[in-house]
Structures are given as C-alpha cells and as structure tokens.
Amino acid sequence: MSLLCRTVVLAGVMGLSAQGCATVQPWQRGRLADPCMTFDSDAGRVAYQTHWQEAREGAAGGFGVQSGGCGCK
C-alpha cells in the first residue's frame, strides 16, 4: 500500500472515529447525575462515604454524581 493510500485510509478512520464524540451540556446531564451511574454497586454506601470524606477533608466535589456527571457547581 502506498504512502498516500495509507494516509487517506488513516485520515478516514480518524475522521469516522471523531464522529462519535459529543459534548453533553450541563442541562442534559440528568441521567448522568442519577445515583445508579456511580462507579460502585452500592450508591448509598458511596454517598455516606463521600459525606464523611468531605467533612474530614473540608472540601467537596469531584466524587462522581454531583460535580462529576451533573455539571453542578
């Protein structure tokens, strides 16, 4: 395969893969903010753990649901 041909094929693949990218706007993150979207099987335990971690660290945010998926500030 010539260099030009390889370049065209690669550019095509990269272009097609870029089509899958999308930006979810802050107001569209209702489903992402659902507790079932946390990376843990027990959302309740995570919420409790997050609560005492935030209290201990004196800082909030960055723990998945809120400030993670929902776009909340």
Partner: protein, 176 residues
C-alpha cells in the same frame, strides 16, 4: 512521514470532538415558554421590569438550596419590581412535579424539557441564572449556587432596580 504530521492529525481529531464556545448573548433572547399551568410566557413581556431567570433541575444538587432561597428573594422583592422565572429543564415532567411537591413556591415556574433557555443564554453550569435589566439586557450571570451568592444577588438586583426604566420609581434599598 514526519512525526509532526501525526501530532497535527491527532490534535485535529481530538479537537473535532469538542464543542465550540457557546455564544453569550448580551440581550435577552426571544423565547416563548410554558408555565406549569399551561400558560404561555414571553421573555419580551418582562421589558420594563427587572427579571431574574433561574435555570434548575430536580437532579441538580445545588438547586435544592437555590430554589427556596430564590423563591424567598422573589417574595421579598417582587413588590419592588423584580420578576423571576424559574426554568425547569427536567426531561420528564414528573421529576419536576416531584421536586415541586417538596418545595412549595410562589415564583413562576416554566418548563423547558428541550433546554432551549440554557442553550439561548449560553448556560455553563447547573444551576445558572441571569439578571436582565429593564431594557432587556443581560447584565449579570451566575454559574452554580452557594449561600454566599445571595448577598451578591441582592446587590445586583438593587442596582438594576435603581436604574431608570419604564417602571422605575426612585432609589431602592434592599436589606441583607
């Protein structure tokens, strides 16, 4: 082929998936919205009044504190010339209804499941709010909410109420 080509190609692909910056309008967009009761409301109807547009959703954590706080602000300042539209962007009406059943309110709530309002205003976070002066210009923006925001709201609203306008009637003093 030079490595710079591949770096440039990779950067192009990565950037192609990102959204461009949303426009941030300086004047209130022309929109028609529907209230909970099914009435039609136009933003243009509020010209001559100071309008606070608050964008919220039932799933948004900070909205649980901003909603009642802004409702109290509305009750206090509505007689002085402040109007408020609480724009709900829940996709499902029943989610908004459930939230509202736990948060009694007096301020008008409009439904925007398609997100036309945050799109038109260029909202960057949830909740977001926009203060519009008597001439229809967007003068102040808030992204997110904390209790520390309330004094800022008061200062901004007082400033807009003091400005000359169709229904301006002099100096407005708003307590802390």
């Amino acid at each position: 082929m030079r490595p710079s080509f591949w770096v440039a190609a990779l950067v192009t692909v990565l950037l192609s998936g990102t959204a461009g910056a949303r426009p941030t309008p300086t004047t209130a967009p022309t929109l028609e919205l529907t209230t909970l009761e099914g009435k039609t409301v136009r933003l243009a109807d509020f010209k001559g009044r100071v309008l606070l547009v608050d964008i919220w959703a039932s799933w948004c954590g900070p909205c649980k504190s901003s909603f009642p706080s802004l409702d109290a602000l509305y009750l206090e300042l509505h007689p002085l010339g402040l109007d408020l539209l609480a724009v709900n962007v829940d996709e499902r009406r029943r989610d908004a209804d459930e939230f509202l059943s736990h948060h009694p309110h007096q301020m008008p709530v409009v439904l925007d499941p398609q997100g036309r309002v945050p799109e038109a205003f260029g909202a960057e976070a949830m909740p977001s709010s926009f203060l519009i002066d008597r001439s229809g210009n967007i003068r102040f923006r808030h992204a997110g909410y904390s209790p520390a925001s309330l004094p800022v709201y008061r200062q901004e609203i007082a400033r807009l109420l003091e400005e000359a306008g169709a229904e301006s009637d002099g100096v407005v003093v708003i307590g802390p």
